[in-house]
Amino acid sequence: MGIVVAAFTIILAVTGLILNHEPRLNLNKVQVTSAWVLNWYGMEGVNAETKGINLNGQWLILVEDQLYLDLKSVGALSAPVVGAISLPDMFLVADEFQLTLLTREGDLIERFVPNGVTGRFTALGNHGEAIILQTQAGAYQSDPQLLHWERTETNAGSWSKLTPLPGDVAANLSRELTGGGLPLYRIILDLHSGRLFSTAGRLAMDGAALLLIVLSITGLWIWWPRS
Protein backbone atom coordinates (compact mmCIF):
# COMPACT_ATOMS: atom_id res chain seq x y z
CA MET A 1 0.00 0.00 0.00
CA GLY A 2 2.85 2.33 0.90
CA ILE A 3 4.52 1.89 -2.51
CA VAL A 4 1.30 2.66 -4.37
CA VAL A 5 0.70 5.76 -2.31
CA ALA A 6 4.34 6.79 -2.78
CA ALA A 7 4.01 6.54 -6.57
CA PHE A 8 0.86 8.65 -6.62
CA THR A 9 2.38 11.12 -4.18
CA ILE A 10 5.43 11.59 -6.41
CA ILE A 11 3.18 12.21 -9.44
CA LEU A 12 1.06 14.67 -7.46
CA ALA A 13 4.06 16.47 -6.02
CA VAL A 14 6.07 16.72 -9.25
CA THR A 15 3.12 17.82 -11.39
CA GLY A 16 2.04 20.20 -8.59
CA LEU A 17 5.49 21.80 -8.55
CA ILE A 18 5.48 22.19 -12.34
CA LEU A 19 2.00 23.71 -12.30
CA ASN A 20 3.01 26.12 -9.54
CA HIS A 21 5.74 27.49 -11.80
CA GLU A 22 3.64 27.42 -14.97
CA PRO A 23 3.93 31.16 -15.72
CA ARG A 24 7.73 30.99 -15.71
CA LEU A 25 7.84 27.74 -17.68
CA ASN A 26 5.34 29.05 -20.26
CA LEU A 27 3.63 25.66 -20.44
CA ASN A 28 0.52 27.18 -21.97
CA LYS A 29 2.52 28.16 -25.03
CA VAL A 30 4.12 24.74 -25.55
CA GLN A 31 1.87 22.82 -27.97
CA VAL A 32 1.95 19.03 -27.92
CA THR A 33 1.29 17.63 -31.40
CA SER A 34 2.20 13.98 -30.82
CA ALA A 35 -0.33 11.79 -32.65
CA TRP A 36 -0.85 9.36 -29.78
CA VAL A 37 -1.45 12.15 -27.25
CA LEU A 38 -4.01 13.79 -29.57
CA ASN A 39 -5.65 10.40 -30.17
CA TRP A 40 -5.80 9.85 -26.41
CA TYR A 41 -7.81 13.08 -26.17
CA GLY A 42 -10.04 12.01 -29.07
CA MET A 43 -8.56 14.74 -31.30
CA GLU A 44 -7.99 12.49 -34.26
CA GLY A 45 -6.40 14.14 -37.23
CA VAL A 46 -5.64 12.69 -40.61
CA ASN A 47 -3.61 9.49 -40.69
CA ALA A 48 -2.11 7.29 -43.40
CA GLU A 49 -5.40 5.44 -43.81
CA THR A 50 -7.46 8.57 -44.43
CA LYS A 51 -8.74 8.63 -47.99
CA GLY A 52 -10.45 11.06 -50.26
CA ILE A 53 -11.67 11.67 -53.79
CA ASN A 54 -10.04 14.26 -56.01
CA LEU A 55 -12.75 16.46 -57.55
CA ASN A 56 -10.94 18.59 -60.07
CA GLY A 57 -8.44 19.82 -57.53
CA GLN A 58 -10.77 19.95 -54.53
CA TRP A 59 -10.68 16.98 -52.16
CA LEU A 60 -13.66 15.22 -50.65
CA ILE A 61 -12.19 13.58 -47.55
CA LEU A 62 -13.55 11.01 -45.11
CA VAL A 63 -12.37 11.23 -41.51
CA GLU A 64 -14.12 8.69 -39.30
CA ASP A 65 -17.80 9.30 -40.07
CA GLN A 66 -17.33 12.93 -41.08
CA LEU A 67 -17.06 14.23 -44.60
CA TYR A 68 -14.91 17.24 -45.51
CA LEU A 69 -14.56 19.23 -48.69
CA ASP A 70 -10.97 20.42 -48.39
CA LEU A 71 -11.04 22.00 -44.92
CA LYS A 72 -14.81 22.42 -44.56
CA SER A 73 -16.97 19.89 -42.74
CA VAL A 74 -19.95 19.02 -44.90
CA GLY A 75 -21.70 16.76 -42.39
CA ALA A 76 -21.81 13.32 -40.87
CA LEU A 77 -22.10 10.15 -42.89
CA SER A 78 -24.65 7.47 -42.14
CA ALA A 79 -23.19 5.01 -44.66
CA PRO A 80 -19.83 4.51 -46.38
CA VAL A 81 -19.09 6.77 -49.36
CA VAL A 82 -18.79 4.80 -52.59
CA GLY A 83 -17.99 7.63 -55.02
CA ALA A 84 -18.12 11.31 -55.88
CA ILE A 85 -17.99 13.24 -59.13
CA SER A 86 -17.78 16.84 -60.20
CA LEU A 87 -20.76 18.38 -62.05
CA PRO A 88 -21.12 21.89 -63.43
CA ASP A 89 -21.34 24.14 -60.32
CA MET A 90 -21.67 21.28 -57.86
CA PHE A 91 -20.49 17.91 -56.60
CA LEU A 92 -22.44 14.66 -56.46
CA VAL A 93 -21.54 12.23 -53.67
CA ALA A 94 -22.88 8.68 -53.36
CA ASP A 95 -22.98 6.63 -50.19
CA GLU A 96 -24.48 3.16 -50.05
CA PHE A 97 -28.05 4.43 -49.78
CA GLN A 98 -28.39 7.92 -51.14
CA LEU A 99 -26.91 10.72 -53.19
CA THR A 100 -25.80 14.07 -51.83
CA LEU A 101 -25.49 17.28 -53.82
CA LEU A 102 -23.02 19.88 -52.58
CA THR A 103 -22.18 23.32 -53.85
CA ARG A 104 -18.55 23.88 -54.78
CA GLU A 105 -18.21 25.73 -51.46
CA GLY A 106 -19.29 22.59 -49.59
CA ASP A 107 -22.86 23.66 -48.70
CA LEU A 108 -25.47 20.92 -48.73
CA ILE A 109 -28.03 21.30 -51.50
CA GLU A 110 -29.94 18.09 -50.84
CA ARG A 111 -29.73 14.42 -49.97
CA PHE A 112 -31.97 12.22 -52.05
CA VAL A 113 -32.73 8.76 -53.28
CA PRO A 114 -32.85 8.68 -57.08
CA ASN A 115 -36.11 7.57 -58.70
CA GLY A 116 -36.15 4.12 -60.17
CA VAL A 117 -32.86 2.96 -58.66
CA THR A 118 -32.78 -0.19 -56.53
CA GLY A 119 -30.08 -1.98 -54.57
CA ARG A 120 -27.28 -0.60 -52.44
CA PHE A 121 -25.03 1.78 -54.33
CA THR A 122 -21.53 0.50 -54.97
CA ALA A 123 -19.85 3.03 -57.31
CA LEU A 124 -20.34 6.37 -59.06
CA GLY A 125 -18.70 7.49 -62.26
CA ASN A 126 -18.98 9.16 -65.65
CA HIS A 127 -19.35 7.97 -69.17
CA GLY A 128 -18.80 11.09 -71.24
CA GLU A 129 -21.50 13.52 -70.08
CA ALA A 130 -23.61 10.77 -68.53
CA ILE A 131 -23.61 9.99 -64.82
CA ILE A 132 -23.44 6.28 -64.03
CA LEU A 133 -24.48 4.84 -60.66
CA GLN A 134 -23.61 1.22 -60.03
CA THR A 135 -25.75 -0.68 -57.52
CA GLN A 136 -26.00 -4.30 -56.46
CA ALA A 137 -28.92 -4.55 -58.90
CA GLY A 138 -27.02 -3.16 -61.91
CA ALA A 139 -25.91 0.11 -63.49
CA TYR A 140 -28.14 3.20 -63.87
CA GLN A 141 -27.64 6.25 -66.04
CA SER A 142 -28.99 9.71 -65.23
CA ASP A 143 -29.91 12.76 -67.23
CA PRO A 144 -27.81 15.88 -66.40
CA GLN A 145 -30.58 17.23 -64.11
CA LEU A 146 -30.48 14.03 -62.02
CA LEU A 147 -34.26 13.65 -62.37
CA HIS A 148 -34.48 10.45 -64.43
CA TRP A 149 -32.45 7.31 -63.91
CA GLU A 150 -32.63 4.33 -66.20
CA ARG A 151 -30.99 0.93 -66.31
CA THR A 152 -28.03 0.85 -68.65
CA GLU A 153 -25.54 -1.68 -69.89
CA THR A 154 -22.99 1.12 -70.24
CA ASN A 155 -20.03 0.88 -67.94
CA ALA A 156 -18.65 4.12 -66.63
CA GLY A 157 -15.55 5.15 -68.52
CA SER A 158 -14.11 6.21 -65.20
CA TRP A 159 -15.31 5.31 -61.70
CA SER A 160 -14.46 7.76 -58.94
CA LYS A 161 -12.06 6.22 -56.47
CA LEU A 162 -11.04 6.80 -52.89
CA THR A 163 -7.28 7.28 -52.79
CA PRO A 164 -4.72 8.24 -50.13
CA LEU A 165 -4.39 12.00 -49.68
CA PRO A 166 -1.45 14.04 -51.00
CA GLY A 167 0.84 15.10 -48.17
CA ASP A 168 -0.06 18.82 -48.18
CA VAL A 169 -3.83 18.13 -48.25
CA ALA A 170 -3.48 15.69 -45.34
CA ALA A 171 -1.28 18.07 -43.35
CA ASN A 172 -3.64 21.03 -43.83
CA LEU A 173 -6.72 19.07 -42.75
CA SER A 174 -4.87 17.52 -39.83
CA ARG A 175 -3.88 20.98 -38.62
CA GLU A 176 -7.48 22.13 -39.00
CA LEU A 177 -8.86 19.15 -37.08
CA THR A 178 -6.43 19.21 -34.20
CA GLY A 179 -6.23 22.99 -33.85
CA GLY A 180 -2.41 22.96 -33.74
CA GLY A 181 -2.19 20.59 -30.76
CA LEU A 182 -2.78 20.70 -27.01
CA PRO A 183 -1.07 23.01 -24.49
CA LEU A 184 1.39 21.08 -22.28
CA TYR A 185 -0.16 22.87 -19.29
CA ARG A 186 -3.48 21.10 -19.95
CA ILE A 187 -1.83 17.67 -20.08
CA ILE A 188 0.11 18.16 -16.85
CA LEU A 189 -2.99 19.53 -15.13
CA ASP A 190 -4.95 16.46 -16.25
CA LEU A 191 -2.16 14.19 -15.03
CA HIS A 192 -2.17 16.00 -11.69
CA SER A 193 -5.92 15.58 -11.23
CA GLY A 194 -6.11 12.11 -12.78
CA ARG A 195 -8.47 13.36 -15.51
CA LEU A 196 -5.92 12.19 -18.09
CA PHE A 197 -7.26 8.69 -17.46
CA SER A 198 -10.89 9.71 -17.40
CA THR A 199 -13.13 8.77 -14.45
CA ALA A 200 -10.85 5.87 -13.48
CA GLY A 201 -7.89 8.26 -13.17
CA ARG A 202 -9.84 10.69 -11.00
CA LEU A 203 -11.03 7.85 -8.77
CA ALA A 204 -7.45 6.52 -8.51
CA MET A 205 -6.19 9.98 -7.47
CA ASP A 206 -9.05 10.26 -4.95
CA GLY A 207 -8.16 6.79 -3.61
CA ALA A 208 -4.49 7.71 -3.36
CA ALA A 209 -5.38 10.90 -1.48
CA LEU A 210 -7.59 8.95 0.94
CA LEU A 211 -4.83 6.37 1.48
CA LEU A 212 -2.36 9.18 2.14
CA ILE A 213 -4.70 10.60 4.78
CA VAL A 214 -5.14 7.13 6.35
CA LEU A 215 -1.38 6.52 6.35
CA SER A 216 -0.69 9.92 7.91
CA ILE A 217 -3.29 9.45 10.65
CA THR A 218 -2.28 5.87 11.45
CA GLY A 219 1.42 6.90 11.37
CA LEU A 220 0.72 9.69 13.85
CA TRP A 221 -1.34 7.31 15.95
CA ILE A 222 1.55 4.81 16.14
CA TRP A 223 4.14 7.53 16.78
CA TRP A 224 2.17 9.43 19.41
CA PRO A 225 3.67 8.65 22.82
CA ARG A 226 1.19 6.95 25.09
CA SER A 227 1.40 6.51 28.79
Binding site: G75, S78, A79, E96, F97, Q98, D107, L108, I109, E110, R111, F112, V113, P114, N115, G116, V117, T118, G119, R120, L147, H148
Partner: protein, 172 residues
Amino acid sequence: MRILAWLVPLWLVLILPSHAVDVFQEPDAFLTEVFENTVPDPSFLWLKGEVKEAARQILDRDAGGLRQRYWRADGRTVWIVEEIGKTQPITTGISIKDGAVERVQILIYRESHGWEVRYPFFTDQFRGMTLDADNDLSSRVDGISGATLSVRAITKLVRLALTYDAFARQGS
Protein backbone atom coordinates in the same frame (compact mmCIF):
# COMPACT_ATOMS: atom_id res chain seq x y z
CA MET B 1 -17.61 -22.30 -15.88
CA ARG B 2 -20.78 -23.22 -17.70
CA ILE B 3 -22.50 -20.06 -16.58
CA LEU B 4 -19.54 -18.03 -17.94
CA ALA B 5 -20.16 -19.57 -21.37
CA TRP B 6 -23.57 -17.90 -21.26
CA LEU B 7 -22.67 -14.69 -19.47
CA VAL B 8 -19.64 -13.69 -21.57
CA PRO B 9 -21.49 -13.67 -24.94
CA LEU B 10 -24.44 -11.89 -23.29
CA TRP B 11 -22.09 -9.27 -21.85
CA LEU B 12 -20.41 -8.82 -25.25
CA VAL B 13 -23.80 -8.35 -26.94
CA LEU B 14 -24.72 -5.72 -24.37
CA ILE B 15 -21.50 -3.72 -24.51
CA LEU B 16 -20.50 -3.94 -28.16
CA PRO B 17 -21.95 -1.20 -30.33
CA SER B 18 -24.39 -2.42 -32.94
CA HIS B 19 -24.87 -0.36 -36.10
CA ALA B 20 -26.51 -2.83 -38.41
CA VAL B 21 -28.47 -1.12 -41.18
CA ASP B 22 -31.94 -2.54 -41.77
CA VAL B 23 -33.57 -1.69 -45.07
CA PHE B 24 -37.24 -2.39 -44.38
CA GLN B 25 -38.30 -1.09 -47.77
CA GLU B 26 -36.22 0.53 -50.48
CA PRO B 27 -37.25 4.16 -51.05
CA ASP B 28 -37.92 3.47 -54.72
CA ALA B 29 -40.18 0.53 -53.87
CA PHE B 30 -42.11 2.78 -51.44
CA LEU B 31 -42.65 5.40 -54.17
CA THR B 32 -43.69 2.76 -56.69
CA GLU B 33 -46.20 1.33 -54.21
CA VAL B 34 -47.70 4.69 -53.23
CA PHE B 35 -48.04 5.90 -56.83
CA GLU B 36 -49.07 2.48 -58.12
CA ASN B 37 -46.15 2.08 -60.54
CA THR B 38 -46.42 5.57 -62.07
CA VAL B 39 -43.93 7.61 -60.06
CA PRO B 40 -44.01 11.27 -61.12
CA ASP B 41 -40.88 13.34 -61.64
CA PRO B 42 -39.61 14.83 -58.41
CA SER B 43 -40.48 18.40 -57.43
CA PHE B 44 -38.45 20.64 -55.14
CA LEU B 45 -39.39 22.66 -52.08
CA TRP B 46 -36.78 25.33 -51.44
CA LEU B 47 -35.85 25.52 -47.77
CA LYS B 48 -35.70 29.26 -47.24
CA GLY B 49 -37.61 31.98 -45.43
CA GLU B 50 -40.65 30.75 -43.52
CA VAL B 51 -40.23 27.16 -44.76
CA LYS B 52 -36.78 27.03 -43.22
CA GLU B 53 -38.01 28.63 -40.00
CA ALA B 54 -40.98 26.24 -39.72
CA ALA B 55 -38.66 23.25 -40.20
CA ARG B 56 -36.31 24.60 -37.55
CA GLN B 57 -39.21 24.96 -35.09
CA ILE B 58 -40.13 21.31 -35.58
CA LEU B 59 -36.65 19.77 -35.63
CA ASP B 60 -35.03 22.11 -33.08
CA ARG B 61 -32.19 22.46 -35.59
CA ASP B 62 -31.63 23.64 -39.12
CA ALA B 63 -33.17 21.17 -41.56
CA GLY B 64 -29.95 21.16 -43.58
CA GLY B 65 -29.80 21.55 -47.32
CA LEU B 66 -31.10 24.17 -49.69
CA ARG B 67 -34.01 22.12 -51.01
CA GLN B 68 -36.19 19.12 -50.23
CA ARG B 69 -37.16 16.73 -53.01
CA TYR B 70 -40.71 15.37 -53.08
CA TRP B 71 -43.11 13.61 -55.43
CA ARG B 72 -46.56 14.91 -56.26
CA ALA B 73 -49.59 13.60 -58.17
CA ASP B 74 -53.38 13.38 -57.71
CA GLY B 75 -53.55 15.56 -54.58
CA ARG B 76 -50.86 13.48 -52.95
CA THR B 77 -47.33 14.44 -51.95
CA VAL B 78 -44.68 11.98 -50.83
CA TRP B 79 -41.66 12.91 -48.74
CA ILE B 80 -38.59 10.87 -47.94
CA VAL B 81 -37.11 12.50 -44.88
CA GLU B 82 -34.61 11.68 -42.13
CA GLU B 83 -34.20 12.45 -38.47
CA ILE B 84 -31.76 11.09 -35.92
CA GLY B 85 -33.27 8.81 -33.27
CA LYS B 86 -30.43 8.49 -30.81
CA THR B 87 -27.29 8.58 -32.95
CA GLN B 88 -28.26 7.53 -36.47
CA PRO B 89 -30.76 8.88 -39.01
CA ILE B 90 -34.03 7.04 -39.58
CA THR B 91 -35.09 7.29 -43.23
CA THR B 92 -38.86 7.52 -43.42
CA GLY B 93 -41.34 7.69 -46.29
CA ILE B 94 -44.46 9.77 -45.64
CA SER B 95 -47.37 10.04 -48.02
CA ILE B 96 -49.87 12.88 -47.59
CA LYS B 97 -53.19 13.08 -49.38
CA ASP B 98 -55.20 16.33 -49.34
CA GLY B 99 -53.34 17.60 -46.28
CA ALA B 100 -53.78 14.46 -44.15
CA VAL B 101 -51.31 11.64 -43.51
CA GLU B 102 -52.03 8.67 -45.74
CA ARG B 103 -49.12 6.41 -44.89
CA VAL B 104 -45.93 6.36 -42.83
CA GLN B 105 -43.29 3.76 -43.63
CA ILE B 106 -39.89 3.31 -41.97
CA LEU B 107 -37.54 2.67 -44.89
CA ILE B 108 -34.00 2.49 -43.51
CA TYR B 109 -33.26 2.01 -39.82
CA ARG B 110 -29.72 2.35 -38.51
CA GLU B 111 -30.14 2.53 -34.72
CA SER B 112 -29.43 -0.46 -32.48
CA HIS B 113 -32.63 0.02 -30.47
CA GLY B 114 -36.14 1.30 -31.00
CA TRP B 115 -36.85 -0.54 -34.25
CA GLU B 116 -40.39 -1.26 -32.99
CA VAL B 117 -41.40 1.99 -34.68
CA ARG B 118 -41.34 0.09 -37.97
CA TYR B 119 -44.44 -1.93 -37.10
CA PRO B 120 -47.90 -0.94 -38.37
CA PHE B 121 -49.28 -0.81 -34.79
CA PHE B 122 -47.15 2.34 -34.45
CA THR B 123 -47.10 3.83 -37.95
CA ASP B 124 -50.83 3.29 -38.62
CA GLN B 125 -51.80 5.65 -35.81
CA PHE B 126 -50.60 8.60 -37.93
CA ARG B 127 -53.16 7.88 -40.65
CA GLY B 128 -55.59 10.75 -41.13
CA MET B 129 -53.62 13.12 -38.88
CA THR B 130 -53.39 16.76 -39.93
CA LEU B 131 -51.77 19.85 -38.46
CA ASP B 132 -53.76 21.83 -35.91
CA ALA B 133 -53.67 25.61 -35.48
CA ASP B 134 -50.44 25.35 -33.43
CA ASN B 135 -48.75 23.24 -36.10
CA ASP B 136 -48.96 20.19 -33.85
CA LEU B 137 -50.41 16.85 -34.89
CA SER B 138 -54.21 16.73 -34.66
CA SER B 139 -54.16 13.59 -32.46
CA ARG B 140 -52.01 12.22 -29.68
CA VAL B 141 -49.30 9.72 -30.62
CA ASP B 142 -48.98 6.66 -28.37
CA GLY B 143 -45.34 6.00 -27.52
CA ILE B 144 -43.48 2.71 -27.27
CA SER B 145 -41.69 1.80 -24.07
CA GLY B 146 -37.94 1.58 -24.79
CA ALA B 147 -38.20 3.40 -28.11
CA THR B 148 -38.84 6.94 -26.86
CA LEU B 149 -36.22 8.65 -29.05
CA SER B 150 -37.28 6.85 -32.22
CA VAL B 151 -40.95 7.66 -31.52
CA ARG B 152 -40.01 11.30 -31.02
CA ALA B 153 -38.02 11.33 -34.28
CA ILE B 154 -40.85 9.80 -36.33
CA THR B 155 -43.40 12.18 -34.79
CA LYS B 156 -41.19 15.12 -35.77
CA LEU B 157 -40.85 13.79 -39.31
CA VAL B 158 -44.62 13.47 -39.71
CA ARG B 159 -45.08 17.06 -38.51
CA LEU B 160 -42.31 18.13 -40.89
CA ALA B 161 -43.86 16.35 -43.87
CA LEU B 162 -47.29 17.86 -43.14
CA THR B 163 -45.70 21.31 -42.87
CA TYR B 164 -43.75 20.85 -46.10
CA ASP B 165 -46.92 19.60 -47.78
CA ALA B 166 -48.79 22.74 -46.68
CA PHE B 167 -46.06 24.96 -48.15
CA ALA B 168 -45.90 22.89 -51.34
CA ARG B 169 -49.68 23.22 -51.85
CA GLN B 170 -49.53 26.96 -51.10
CA GLY B 171 -46.82 27.37 -53.70
CA SER B 172 -48.72 25.58 -56.45
